[in-house]
C-alpha cells in the first residue's frame, strides 16, 4: 500500500493523461476529503478555543492547492479558517483556488509570526499544506525553512496533507514536523510507515484497475465516506 515518490507521480500522470481526470477535479475531491478527515479527528465540539479557528498554511505547489480547497470546505463545515500563503504561486489553479478563498471571505495572514505562542493562542489547529512529496528538499529555502521551523515549535496540533512538510516522501523522519494527523492523498507514501499519529487516506476516486496495476491494496471505504482511517 505504501508507495514511492516515483509511483505516486506516475499514478497522478496516468489519472490526468489516460483516465481523463482534470487537476481541478482531483484537487477538489482531495480538499473536500481532507476537510472531512479533519472534522473526524478535530470535531467542532472538541475545539477548546471560543471560536473554531484553524490556520491553513499553503505552499505554492499542488500540496498548497489541496490546502486551499480544504480551507474552503472547512469554512463550509463551519470552521473559521485563516489562510497563510508563504509565497505567491505562478500556477493558475493555485491562483483560482486562492481567489475562491478570498471571495468566501476567508482571512489571509500576510506573514507567519515567529512567536509560536501567538499561533498557539489564536488557532485550535494548523493545517500543513506547505510542501508535498513532489518537492525537491535540497532546493527548499526561505521562506519555507522559516515556516517549517515555526511549525516544528508549535504546541497547537498539526494536520499534514499527504506528507508532513519537510519530510522526504520515501524515508522516515526524526527531526521534522510531528503532526497529530496525517491525511495521505490517494495512497500513503513510504515515509508514513514511521508515522505514529492519526492516519487517514483521502482520494476515493482511484479507478479499480489503476489500484490493481500499482498493487495498492487499499482498505475499503465504508458507505459513502470520502476518507478511511488507516
Amino acid at each position: 500500500m505504501f508507495c514511492s515518490k516515483e509511483e505516486a507521480v506516475a499514478m497522478e500522470t496516468e489519472l490526468l493523461r489516460d483516465y481523463g481526470f482534470g487537476r481541478q477535479q482531483l484537487t477538489e475531491m482531495l480538499g473536500h476529503a481532507c476537510a472531512t478527515a479533519i472534522t473526524q479527528v478535530f470535531p467542532l465540539a472538541s475545539l477548546e478555543k471560543r471560536q473554531p479557528t484553524v490556520l491553513v498554511a499553503c505552499g505554492p505547489d499542488q500540496n498548497g492547492c489541496v490546502g486551499l480547497a480544504c480551507a474552503r470546505h472547512l469554512r463550509v463545515f463551519e470552521y473559521i479558517p485563516t489562510v497563510f500563503i508563504p509565497k505567491r504561486s505562478s500556477d493558475a489553479l493555485h491562483q483560482d483556488l486562492r481567489l475562491q478563498c478570498e471571495r468566501m471571505d476567508l482571512p489571509f495572514l500576510s506573514y507567519l509570526p515567529t512567536e509560536v505562542q501567538l499561533i498557539n493562542e489564536a488557532y485550535n489547529l494548523v493545517v500543513d499544506a506547505v510542501l508535498g512529496p513532489e518537492t525537491e528538499l535540497a532546493s527548499v529555502g526561505e521562506p519555507f525553512t522559516g515556516v517549517l521551523q515555526t511549525l516544528r515549535g508549535l504546541k497547537a496540533p498539526i494536520a499534514s496533507l499527504d506528507i508532513p512538510s519537510g519530510w522526504d516522501a520515501d524515508e522516515s523522519s526524526s527531526d521534522g514536523i510531528s503532526p497529530a494527523l496525517l491525511v495521505s492523498l490517494m495512497t500513503p507514501k513510504r515515509c508514513a510507515l514511521s508515522f505514529s499519529g492519526a492516519h487517514f487516506l483521502a482520494g476515493r476516486f482511484l479507478p479499480f484497475d489503476l489500484q490493481r496495476k500499482y498493487e495498492l491494496n487499499l482498505p475499503k471505504f465504508s458507505g459513502t465516506d470520502a476518507v478511511v482511517q488507516l
Binding site: 477535479q25 477538489e28 476537510a35 476516486f205 479499480f208
Partner: protein
C-alpha cells in the same frame, strides 16, 4: 448543473435486469421500511421545508452566474461536488442492501447539457459506492469537459448503452423511464411526456421518486410528489446565501446532502 439546468440532479433511476423494470411505486412498497433517515425527525423536516427558498428561473440563473463570475468557481469543480451529492442522495434513499436485484444495477440517463454532466459524475461515484451503473447518453456535446467525464466513466468500466432498455409497461402508471433533459420528448405508451418547466412543473411529465435539488430547490419542486427530496451541492458561499436569502438548512455534519422531506 445549476440554476435552470439543475431541475433534476439525475432525473431518475431504474433498476433493470433482463427487461423487467421496477416502477417507482413497486420499489416504494418493498423498501419503505428500510429507508427512514435516522438523522432527520419529521418535525425538523417540516420546519426546514417551510423556510427554504424555492428559486425562480431568473434567480437561479443569476446565482449560477455569480458562482462562476464573482466567486471564481469552475464548472469542473462544482459539477464534481454536484455529482457527488447526487450519488450520496441515491445511496441514502436506495441503500445497497435494500435493492431487490443483484447486482445492484442503476441506469443513469444523461442529457446534453450540464445536467447530463452531473449525471456522469454521479454514475462514477455510484460505481465507487458499490452500485453497478450503466449510462444512457444519447446526445454527447463536443466540449472537452463532457468527453473527459465520459472517458472517466468508461475507464471505470461503466457501460454506455446505445438505446433504452426494454420497459415492461404497467397500466395506469407513468413509467419513469425518460430522460430529464429539458426539451426532450419521448413517446411512452400513454403519449408524449413533456419535461418540467423550472417554475411550474408538468403534471403529465416524469414523476420521479427522488428529486435532488442542486444549490437550492426550484419553484417546480413545489409540484414534486415523490418520496425523497434532497438538497445537494454543498458549496454555496455564506455571502451568496445571504444575498439571495436562500435560508438553506444546516447540512448534517460533513454530509453533502440534506433531506428536505
Amino acid at each position: 448543473m445549476l440554476g435552470v439546468r439543475a431541475l433534476f440532479g439525475i432525473g431518475l433511476l431504474v433498476t433493470s435486469r433482463g427487461g423487467s423494470v421496477l416502477t417507482h411505486t413497486g420499489a416504494c412498497a418493498r423498501i419503505a421500511s428500510n429507508i427512514y433517515s435516522k438523522d432527520l425527525t419529521h418535525r425538523q423536516a417540516c420546519t426546514m421545508a417551510d423556510t427554504i427558498k424555492y428559486l425562480g428561473q431568473e434567480e437561479a440563473q443569476h446565482i449560477d452566474e455569480e458562482l462562476f463570475d464573482e466567486y471564481s468557481f469552475s464548472v469542473d469543480q462544482l459539477m464534481e461536488l454536484a455529482g457527488l451529492s447526487c450519488a450520496t442522495a441515491v445511496s441514502k434513499g436506495y441503500p445497497l442492501q435494500s435493492l431487490l436485484k443483484s447486482p445492484p444495477r442503476v441506469l443513469v440517463i444523461c442529457g446534453p447539457g450540464n445536467n447530463g454532466g452531473d449525471g456522469l459524475v454521479c454514475a462514477r461515484h455510484l460505481k465507487l459506492f458499490g452500485y453497478e451503473p450503466s449510462v444512457l447518453y444519447p446526445k454527447r456535446p463536443s466540449k472537452q469537459l463532457f468527453q473527459n467525464l465520459t472517458t472517466q466513466c468508461e475507464k471505470m468500466d461503466i457501460s454506455f448503452l446505445t438505446e433504452m432498455p426494454e420497459v415492461q409497461h404497467k397500466p395506469q402508471r407513468s413509467i419513469p423511464h425518460r430522460s430529464h433533459c429539458r426539451g426532450a420528448r419521448f413517446i411512452s405508451h400513454t403519449g408524449y411526456i413533456c419535461s418540467w418547466d423550472v417554475e411550474n412543473g408538468c403534471p403529465d411529465g416524469i414523476q420521479p421518486d427522488m428529486l435532488i435539488s442542486l444549490t437550492a430547490p426550484k419553484k417546480a419542486a413545489n409540484h414534486f410528489k415523490g418520496r425523497y427530496h434532497f438538497l445537494g451541492g454543498r458549496f454555496v458561499p455564506p455571502a451568496l446565501e445571504q444575498k439571495y436569502q436562500l435560508n438553506l438548512p444546516q447540512y448534517p455534519g460533513t454530509d453533502c446532502v440534506h433531506q428536505l422531506n
